[in-house]
Symmetry: C2
Subunit: 182 residues, 2 copies
């Protein structure tokens, strides 16, 4: 039996993977924020959709350059990811205050982050208004992963403790792999 | 150090929550398919984006009625979710062959599923072409959850073994809650 709850309670679709989005202004300054409202939306071409609040510096940056990287943190980045989501890049240089190191991308001008599980380079191809946010739809131009944590079937769940956001300060990681019957 | 892999390898953004999408044709027939390319995209109003392959019966149904429900399975539905993703509703009545039971929705005409962790009722407000799929953007009209598995902070991870899709037959569930420092 179900109970009907507040129809605005989006936590019903959590926990879900959380990422560090790196963006760059036209002047070259770089910002980082955490985001979990991110999903693949197409495989050929590989497109991702990322929902970004219109008032954020990340939104302004992506509008200016049409680029961003999606960086994949692990459980060791728990506090970094939380802080990157509650502090604004308009007030603090988050890259430096969070002790993050940038890494040159291979295709786009916006950098990725060192020491993550991996990152993907994205170029915006479309954008859609969604309430107080914009849904940026972007083509993935390059994918980089920590080799020893990635197999031909994706992440090795014993090695890649991918961070999932539950709500507020609450996070989790995937447990063991389970296989469906053929 | 990162290794650069195939830029079409979307598994880099998995594991992620997987859902059973129930849709209805204008004639009233009901179909179910699994989908993990689903994300909240706005909180006020609560909007979700769902990527659906254009060739699927679910796509045809959603185009016809502008409605669907997103049903939240647990690890006990592992084989059901896998099968709902590999069999087409054009060949088999999946609701009956998978032994699923429908439940009347409160706001829309398309039903939810009994015996899940919960389900949400959605009405399409926009759609966007994304490669071979359509990204349906829908407003959440009602949210229903199993009361004993849901707290004011979202799912009780000790009770709600939410299913995450890794790739192919591989799935997982969230492990324990971890808290970031304030």
């Amino acid at each position: 039996m179900y109970k009907t709850i507040d129809s605005r309670d989006y936590h019903v679709l959590h926990p879900r993977p959380v990422y560090l989005i790196v963006s760059r202004s036209k002047n070259g300054s770089v910002n980082v924020m955490s985001a979990s409202w991110v999903s693949p939306v197409s495989d050929e071409p590989f497109l991702v959709a990322v929902s970004i609040w219109k008032g954020s510096l990340t939104h302004q940056n992506i509008r200016e350059t049409g680029e961003f990287t999606v960086n994949i943190p692990s459980d060791k980045h728990l506090n970094t990811v939380y802080k990157a989501g509650v502090v604004s890049g308009r007030e603090v240089d988050k890259i430096s205050s969070l002790g993050l190191r940038l890494l040159k991308s291979s295709v786009i001008e916006t950098p990725g982050l060192e020491d993550m599980l991996g990152f993907i380079e994205c170029k915006v191809v479309n954008e859609v208004e969604v309430g107080e946010s914009t849904l940026f739809i972007a083509e993935v131009k390059a994918v980089h992963v920590v080799e020893e944590a990635y197999t031909r079937y994706g992440w090795d769940l014993n090695k890649a403790k991918i961070l999932l956001h539950h709500g507020g300060r609450g996070f989790t990681t995937p447990s063991k792999l389970i296989l469906a019957h053929r």
